[in-house]
Chain length 387, copies 3
């Protein structure tokens, strides 16, 4: 393996974003408008809204989004705000309704397609267009077993952004399909509330320069990570398990059965994909781990992490705790590091940012994407608008 | 009863204020300056400062106000700030002083009229005018058993604003006098701390379109409220108790004795009056309920609610809990709804506000009053100044 | 003693700073840049970093500062931020490292002089200058047993500011030396977290007009303080203990043994010195009390207060609680008063500030220093810059 990229010849260090990019409320607002609410956002698992009328609410940028499933089996997403007087329609994280979402304030009720179904005195208000006063709709796509939403009225191509992002990382659009993620079952979900900017979390997932310092269990299973090069540094690269390692578990003992459709190139390897802005996907032979990040403010990010296993594993009652514990530890180690970083972002010492060493140089591409998305050099006031 | 106002012919829906009017700190500041600190504000019950030297402190707009009673029996109000070095004079909600308010920092002491009575070394500082360095005085009026204050140096006419507001709602200036509110005794006080903008609370009190949805006990006692038309929609209208209802209690059982001076038109009826910006008055045959709202910030309002009963009721030890529980439940139902609304105000879906149905059209007058008071279209930057 | 200064003839009252100077976040930011980060700041006791590799972290203005001691015995101070990716290097208040500060994120390690000692892959990154990527250094001085730091790249003269300030208050540069503060031992440290602007705390320490009101124990020991004139009002003045007082203790009973080198003029007297912006020094015959204020925001100040005693006292296990309790009570009385003041600063009544009586007139000099430091009349927007 050649771990010395060409760029090393022209200098070991590259610049990061300035510290203010991680603390400034105005920058966060711009990011909400131009990134989080403008791109496809992985919102909930398809199984979270698996049955007619089941729903979940999540925060996307500055908005509460309500996601449900129609009688026809299609996922739907709406702004979680009553069109009458603005009340939050659903305040619970999840639940199920029979036929309609009924606002608990004045009983305006919307069907699962968002149409205004009924309201007190509605028959006497014949001039009201029930579609015009339906819930505001949000674009939806289902892929890899998740419901993705886009709050923009004119969403970018899903294939050219999300799918292309996965394919270009794995070097092959078909690679991810062999894991058949959409058919897997939710083995475990853990939610983390992290006092750090979402970009620090993304950057952390992208590099492995920190692996030897903070991830003893992970480098135990994937010894090449001790060298600092992340799987994400190379197109198509999957990190190989150590010779004596039996499975992707906290102690390297045997994991679960190999997923049925992966090929031999995928066996005994760990692949990682970041789908900007907020998804981190891990593919191992016997399970899949999906992180969805929910940026809540300049200095706070909530992460929902799902461990997905073959339905037979779940049905058989197999103990998956050894698999879960590995990445749960990795997550906690990572998020502690992110919080430690966040607290330094406001220092004058970091006003111009820090540096990326060679094993981190690919983070530059993420920074460029952020800067371009904001239509500016970060830190310079953006023009009003977007979203 | 004709429940179809003329306006229905020209469209069922009217616009509300934009969502930002309920969340923007700058708008709240303008409201403090031009509404809360510029109008008569119902501060405390006269009996809260019933004896010489008894005092209460309340928040009016951005100021802490100290209210007390002089030896001559007059209510007085002051800015609760020592003129020497700015210390808060009284930090307790209520209390009693013998003769003076003594600042606990440097012992500057003010008599009950606010005059500087003594201070260490004051005799040696002969050039100090004790009136000039007295507490800053605030205009005071007592009416309906409450102390009303106005922080403006040039208060509006009390008769043309507060009294006219009550008279125009009841259709008759004498109507409220027959309840002799000032002679009643405080049966119960409950304080609510609500995570909602004060205008949402006012709007909630003004309309009854929500009554059938959230107020089963109230519509049980006042069946016409199930139709959605608030007593406040009509000049002079009092909602009639149901035929089988014995009293204005949580379960419709008998309440207290009819107040001695009300007339037969007032018996078995519920009248409600909103005195903008922050009073909600309920008149029922056997007691009176007074809500005073204290806006604490764009998203927080404290409400003190008093149940006032005939002094004989209090003296006799009669159980008033059935009467109190009815409106306490109504309050909790209402304030839950207001909090649910508050959380939707920031959505892009509500950027231009929501809609008022016919039974809510009269709220438009409140919105116009707010806009006019702010000297602007809400949401457009105001000129500096006011108050 | 002449307690009537000339200024009394021209009017008893002088103006303070406006209330906004104590609440405005932008003013606090300017103060950080132009006062707290621009002047010598008393950070930690020399004994807090008494051994090689021992360290403390403190907040100076808007920065976390890391202070340690080299193998050669010199104190060093650094911005507590890793030069790689901005992580906070030390998150603990205090601790000890063997040879290096190692960032827990990517293991960049700095020696006790701040130089980059090692990092993963550093040998392969030959173009990195280990000094250029060392910790950012902060100027350091040790005096009176404390480590003083200055975050400005071009610190003012320590002699002309800190030392001159002490000498001019005591009327003699040699006076403080006789207490040999640097040789004393830490008898007790108490940390106070106060909800008040740092300037209110400074002002409080400077005047004694409040002593008769809130400090019964202090005026019991120093009866002249009941007259309101602070020791700080007069150059060289030390307040005399009462005739029947045996020691500077909470009840006037005997204290500790007289410090060996003080002269007879210093015996039975209390001297107080404010070193702007954040030190308050008390000298009594048998111990020394040092307050260091850490302004944390417009409305919050943390104060570390040290009681320093002769090493023999500490070694002998003598009970010093009577000495500690006196000023601990004084501190609590003072800080309560400061918090009470803070809550009045936002009132319109205090928009133009309050007044200083004759015994407080010397506070004007502090206010002038603040105004001059900010390069402006406080309350008027400052030009960008400084620090």
């Amino acid at each position: 393996m050649n771990i010395t990229p060409a760029s090393l010849t022209s200098g070991s260090l590259r610049s990061t974003l300035p510290g203010s990019a991680y603390t400034d409320p105005a920058t966060f607002d711009s990011e909400c408008a131009r990134i989080l609410e403008a791109n496809w956002f992985c919102a909930v698992a398809s199984t979270d809204v698996g049955t007619t009328g089941s729903y979940r609410t999540v925060t996307v940028g500055r908005e509460s989004v309500l996601i449900t499933r129609t009688r026809a089996g299609e996922a739907r997403a709406f702004f979680n705000v009553c069109r009458h007087r603005g009340a939050r329609l659903c305040t619970e994280d999840s639940g199920t309704v029979a036929r309609t979402f009924r606002c608990p304030y004045h009983a305006w009720s919307y069907d699962l397609d968002g149409k205004l179904a009924s309201a007190p005195h509605l028959p006497q208000m014949g001039d009201i267009d029930r579609t015009e006063y339906g819930l505001r709709t949000i674009a939806v796509r289902e892929w890899l077993g998740y419901v993705w939403v886009c709050l923009d009225a004119d969403p970018p191509s899903f294939a050219d952004t999300v799918m292309a992002s996965v394919a270009s990382r794995l070097g092959d659009g078909a690679a991810v399909e062999r894991y058949d993620v959409g058919s897997l079952a939710l083995g475990k979900r853990i939610t983390y509330d992290v006092a750090a900017n979402w970009k620090l979390v993304v950057e952390n997932f992208m590099e492995c320069y920190h692996c030897s310092t903070i991830h003893p269990e992970l480098t135990g299973v994937l010894p090449e990570f001790a060298k600092g090069w992340a799987a994400q540094y190379y197109v198509g690269h999957g990190a190989q398990m150590g010779a004596s390692v039996q499975g992707f578990t906290v102690d390297g003992t045997a994991g679960l059965g190999r997923l049925p459709d992966i090929d031999d190139e995928q066996d005994r390897r760990y692949f990682a994909v970041t789908v900007a802005p907020q998804v981190f996907l891990n593919l191992v032979p016997d399970h899949v781990i999906v992180h969805r990040m929910f940026p809540m403010g300049p200095g706070r990010t909530v992460i929902e992490c799902d461990w997905l296993v073959h339905p037979d594993v779940l049905a058989s009652g197999t103990d998956i705790s050894g698999s879960v514990e590995l990445f749960d530890r990795v997550n906690r180690q990572d998020f502690d590091a992110c919080e430690r970083c966040q607290s330094g972002m406001g220092s004058r010492v970091y006003a111009d940012g820090g540096v990326l060493v060679p094993t981190e140089h690919h983070i530059e591409a993420f920074h460029t994407w952020v800067r371009t998305s904001l239509g500016e050099i970060v830190g310079v006031p953006a023009e009003e608008g977007a979203a």
